[in-house]
């Protein structure tokens, strides 16, 4: 196809959706305050903002899940009240959610049929899916059962499901948060093809580089208010971030890498773990060392053994062999979590609600849960309530955890604040070895920055940090060395500064050739 110049911006396009003066309150909380937004036909438009900035609330109103308290939405120039998701779909608005809403037990075709009006046979529908899949290069098999598909494939099923309803506006809520760099690239190709076919795409994200790569314009929300709409091409990521956060964003200073070979504080030698259940990934001969003063990043796509490795490192799963895991030279392979903490290990698992913290306990009680074995707050089996409260308050103060009241329930905190608390709770104990999984998962830019800074400060003070993360940006920003976990096996650790995101992406996808290339690059 000859590349014809696309109509530049929105001059020659008619406006598809125009929202003006949208306000939405939940009790005392103002989620949207006088938000205005417009998108033209075939335009790719980003909605940018931190967690809690009101992005989700806004698109829920566009999709009919919520009703605005005031303000007006015009659809194709007509003032329209979007009553329900069904109504939105009838108008031609489709939405792909951040958390997939697929039925795991059903086939792709059955999943799609449920979202369409009745009347079409499953066989006809499967043919339509195949045709559309071929036309846009989506690669979705209508007969596959959803639970056998990868996350990226499931997302494509969601997209196909939306597109079969022939929408003129497709809303995507943080679609790349679960994808590898390669999958993200493929998704963007597909989205560009839709845009050329005239489908407008409203793309929610807080990943600035992606927004600059994909979208033409971005509307930035901050604390429920419209900060402005800008042409993304003319903005640097830093400018966008500043619009989003509201003040100038500090860069994480390029960390002085620990020179040469410092002491290995955490050593893992040939860690093997059979798959406990059919759902688990076995760990295959994992060996690595985390040295004093460094952050060792462990990259990889979810489901390649991260959970199993984390459990083995923190003692929730224990092997039988001696000398597999050592802290500071002490064999801890058969010790439980409390004993490991006493020996100087600190850790934060991925799931903050229910694993790192108990949602229906106060912060003081949550602080107690990881320090009862350390002797400060428990004497002769009795809990010193004042001391635990003081400890929780200290953590909250030192790590800028914003509390809605004194000593609240963990569940009363927003995701970012709770994450700051659980990370701070461990770091304030100055662990010799700190293991953290997905430290900034679903956390806004400001909180992510302060968590990453705290991790780097800890490493700089001489501790070893192991950071399991699926966020490549995070790996590249703060880890000194990086290893890739794929199918339960861990690659050699490489110096992060010498690895390109493409190579890392290929390793994460398990490409052996890429592994060779990467090794070559190291040589």
């Amino acid at each position: 196809m000859i590349a014809t110049p696309r109509p530049s911006r929105n001059q020659s396009r008619s406006v598809l959706l125009n929202a003006s003066g949208i306000c939405k309150h939940f009790g005392d909380f103002t989620a949207n305050d006088d938000v205005s937004f417009s998108i033209g036909e075939g335009e790719i438009h980003a909605l940018l903002g931190e967690n809690g900035a009101g992005k989700s609330t806004f698109v829920k109103m566009v999709y009919g899940l919520l009703q605005p308290d005031s303000g007006q939405i015009e659809w194709r120039g007509q003032p329209t009240v979007i009553r329900s998701p069904q109504h939105a779909r009838e108008l031609g608005i489709g939405m792909v959610f951040q958390h997939f809403s697929l039925f795991q037990a059903l086939t792709v075709a059955e999943n799609i049929a449920l979202a369409l009006p009745p009347g079409e046979s499953l066989a006809d529908l499967a043919d339509r899916v195949r045709r559309m899949s071929a036309e846009y290069g989506i690669g979705v098999d209508p007969d596959a059962r959803v639970h056998n598909l990868s996350v990226g494939q499931q997302q494509r099923v969601e997209i196909v499901r939306c597109l079969l309803q022939d929408p003129s506006l497709l809303i995507m809520d943080e679609p790349t948060s679960v994808l590898t760099p390669q999958e993200t690239g493929q998704l963007f190709d597909v989205l560009r093809r839709f845009s050329e076919a005239g489908v407008a795409i409203l793309f929610i994200s807080h990943k600035l580089e992606e927004i600059r790569a994909l979208t033409e314009r971005a509307t930035v929300l901050r604390r429920g208010r419209n900060v402005g709409t800008v042409d993304t091409a003319g903005q640097s990521s830093k400018q966008l971030a500043e619009m989003m956060v509201g003040d100038s964003v500090g860069d994480i200073a390029g960390q002085a890498r620990p020179d040469g070979q410092t002491t290995a504080l955490l050593e893992v030698a040939s860690l093997v773990r059979p798959a406990g259940t059919a759902f688990a990934t076995p760990l295959r001969q994992i060996s690595f060392a985390a040295r004093a003063g460094e952050v060792l990043g462990i990259a990889g796509i979810a489901g390649n053994g991260q959970d199993e490795l984390m459990e083995a490192l923190i003692g929730e799963w224990r092997g039988r062999d001696a000398d597999v895991i050592r802290i500071d030279g002490v064999d801890i392979t058969r010790e439980g979590p409390s004993r490991r903490r006493q020996l100087g290990l600190g850790f934060v698992p991925e799931e903050r609600n229910g694993h790192a913290a108990v949602p229906n306990m106060t912060l003081a009680d949550n602080a107690l849960l990881t320090s009862h074995s350390l002797g400060r707050v428990v004497t002769r089996g009795l809990v010193d309530a004042d001391a635990t409260r003081a400890m929780a308050a200290e953590v909250a103060g030192a790590f800028d955890v914003r509390l809605p009241q004194e000593n609240p329930m963990a569940s009363a905190l927003s995701g970012g604040n709770l994450q700051k608390f659980v990370v701070g709770r461990e770091i304030s104990k100055r662990p010799r070895v700190f293991i953290v999984s997905q430290p900034t998962w679903g956390v806004d830019v400001g909180a992510a920055l302060s968590i990453r800074t705290a991790i780097l400060d800890l490493a700089a003070s001489g501790s070893a940090v192991v950071m399991i993360s699926q966020d490549l940006e995070e790996i590249f920003t703060i880890s000194h060395r990086v290893a890739v976990l794929y199918d339960g096996a861990l690659s050699e650790a490489m110096v992060t500064a010498d690895v390109t995101p493409e190579r890392l992406g290929l390793l994460m996808g398990g490409s052996a050739a890429a592994a060779g290339l990467a090794a070559e690059a190291q040589a």
Binding site: P85, S101, F103, Q104, A105, L106, L114, A278
Partner: protein, 304 residues
């Protein structure tokens, strides 16, 4: 002799097929109703009472079904309307059904009634052996096979069946797509009650022509186990019912012939078999993901 034994096994299986197929639909929609025993007892006592008063077996069967449905409606209102705990409510329903049926049935004890007319298929039923085993049962026995076929077709081929399975798999997604989770579940619960009522009605009308307190004797629990044994697949209910029915009869036959195996051992076999099946299912991830309803027993709140 053997023919008679097989006939008895078939008849013992019929109420299990009804109750289990009904419960299968309920569980496929994501609701766990442990009150099958109670609903069967309510069905049994109502069927017997109405059949005795009216003299019509058909009216008796209908009354049994309706009584089961009414009992199920109570469960549905509590569990779906007030989002009570399904396990506790189901257990309460069993106790409630046992008590109320005993109270209502007290005046019926000691009376007897004749069975449903046997539907004899002309000519075919004259065939030796096959004719007696296959073509000379009561209407409800044939109805059980048709029921299983219809439920299998409904689940696999119809859109309503697809919606039901979807709601059992992920009620939040189904709600987001605009399906009425509670509405569909309530219908499923009512259907389950109707079928449990039919199964209960079969006992005093066909199997033993009189009413006795607690006469289901654990068949409701066996039906529940049967659903798991069948791994939520309708045709397997039929096979499982024959096996479980066979085991029940073996106990009686064994006692009559003075077998040395304790009858308690035989009566625990259905549950043992169910546990074995559960283990096998959970070892096969592919199978369990495709067939066991992921939302089973979880309350649904539309707000979230």
């Amino acid at each position: 002799m053997l023919e008679d034994l097989i006939l008895t096994v078939l008849m013992t299986s019929v109420p299990l097929v009804y109750a289990a197929t009904g419960e299968l639909i309920v569980e496929r929609s994501g609701v766990l109703n442990l009150g099958v025993e109670g609903m069967m007892l309510m069905g049994a006592v109502s069927a017997f009472g109405i059949a005795m008063v009216s003299g019509s077996l058909v009216l008796g069967v209908i009354a049994g079904g309706l009584a089961g449905m009414l009992t199920a409606a109570l469960f549905g209102i509590l569990v779906l309307g007030f989002a009570t705990n399904q396990v506790a409510t189901g257990l309460a329903l069993t106790i409630f059904g046992a008590g109320l049926s005993g109270l209502l049935g007290a005046p019926l004890i000691g009376h007897a009634i004749e069975g449903l007319p046997v539907l004899r298929i002309p000519f075919l039923s004259e065939l030796p052996t096959v004719g007696k085993l296959v073509f000379s049962h009561d209407l409800m026995a044939y109805g059980a096979v048709i029921l299983v076929a219809a439920v299998a077709y409904f689940l696999k081929r119809t859109r309503a069946g697809l919606v039901l399975r979807a709601i059992g798999d992920n009620h939040d997604s189904a709600h987001a797509l605009g399906y009425s989770v509670l509405g569909v579940r309530f219908m499923a619960v009512l259907f389950g009650g109707l079928m449990a009522g039919f199964g209960g009605a079969y006992l005093p009308l066909m199997l033993t022509p009189h009413w006795a307190e607690g006469m289901t004797a654990g068949r409701g629990w066996i039906a529940l186990a049967l659903v798991v044994f069948a791994s939520w697949m309708p045709w397997r209910v039929l096979v499982g019912a024959l096996i479980f029915g066979g085991i029940t009869i073996m106990q009686l036959a064994g006692q009559a012939r003075g077998w040395t195996i304790p009858s308690q051992f035989l009566s625990m076999l259905p549950y043992l078999a169910t546990i074995v099946v559960l283990v096998l299912i959970s070892r096969n991830r592919e199978f369990s993901l495709a067939n066991s309803p992921a939302c089973l027993g979880r309350a649904f709140h539309a707000g979230k």
